[in-house]
Amino acid sequence: MAKNKLDDSALMSRLSDGDMSALGELVCRHQDRVLEIAFRTLGKWDLAEDVAQETFLRVYRAARKYKPKAKFTTWLYRIVVNLCLDEKRRRARNGTSLEEVTLETQTEPDSDYAEKKEIAQIVKAAVDELPERQRIALVLHRYKGLSHGQIAEATGWSGPAVESLLVRAYANLRKKLDKIKYFAE
């Protein structure tokens, strides 16, 4: 059976038998979502790539012991979230900041594309300013389409905690972004 027809659990089973092409298929299938979560959480591509790389290495190392109790992506998200949190704590201990807000100035801000790009930068900056757990909950909810129950499962946080994080995250963003033209319309 072609590997692209196998589900994630079947690929993990093949990987545990030493089939490295199964790992390649898993990476191909899931690296975009892993990279996106990592980038939206950490704000830098080099860090996002490192987290993505380590995520799949952990998938590989855990293959022999992997038992599909939940969806593969739920487990995958748990790994990504934990790695992102570890990276943020590591940088906090070293005194380095993740914040890298670069608002591009446009000579002709009238163009719709330039304006949207500028707003995107502002949105990124606003999300970057959220406390780490609010940021993660928001990224998983708004950009990966997880419900608050699924976020609780993926992160290991309690249901009420996730609800609170989401409510506060959206409330904080509303305050930060209420002056933007798109939001005010």
Partner: protein, 157 residues
């Protein structure tokens, strides 16, 4: 009228409520200006957040992962059986060392139980029991013992 909770409002817009609850919320919004305004604000915020697009093209980690996984696979044993095979020589060496240490300790212990000290030599002038205790004839304690002994046995008469 009970208003929609914040989390329900968020999940309603995300399409994560059950079908029946979605209908209830929709009906409430239609009848409640306050909740209607809250929904409108959330929709605008959601639209603004949508503008932050992320393009992952050019950030492929597949090759790096494959190379590192290959290296990891070579460095690490892949099963418990292989772990045992790898560490058996060390386990045997440690077990042998323990056995030798226990055996030596036992032998040394045998000598100490039977008495490694030479037999105590006694003389007519130095009673055996004093010699066994390591007491000198001239010690004050020995004199006292002998004087008491003489009194008990009538040796002084």
């Amino acid at each position: 009228m009970e208003h929609i909770t914040d989390i329900e409002l968020i999940e309603y817009l995300a399409g994560n409520l059950t079908e029946s609850r979605t209908v209830e919320v929709r009906e409430h919004i239609a009848a409640c200006p306050q909740c209607s305004q809250r929904i409108e604000q959330m929709q605008k915020l959601s639209g603004t957040l949508e503008l932050w697009e992320v393009d992952t093209a050019g950030h492929d980690v597949a090759e790096r992962v494959a190379a590192l996984a290959e290296q990891t696979g070579q460095d690490q044993p892949s099963s418990t059986r292989e772990l045992l095979i790898r560490f058996t020589p060390q386990i045997v060496r440690i077990a042998a060392s323990i056995l030798i240490a226990v055996g030596l300790g036992h032998k040394l212990g045998e000598y100490s139980v039977e008495g490694s000290k030479p037999p105590v030599k006694s003389s007519p002038k130095k009673p055996e029991y004093l010699a066994a205790l390591g007491l000198e004839w001239s010690s004050g304690l020995a004199k006292l013992v002998l004087e008491d002994h003489s009194a008990d046995t009538g040796g002084g008469q």
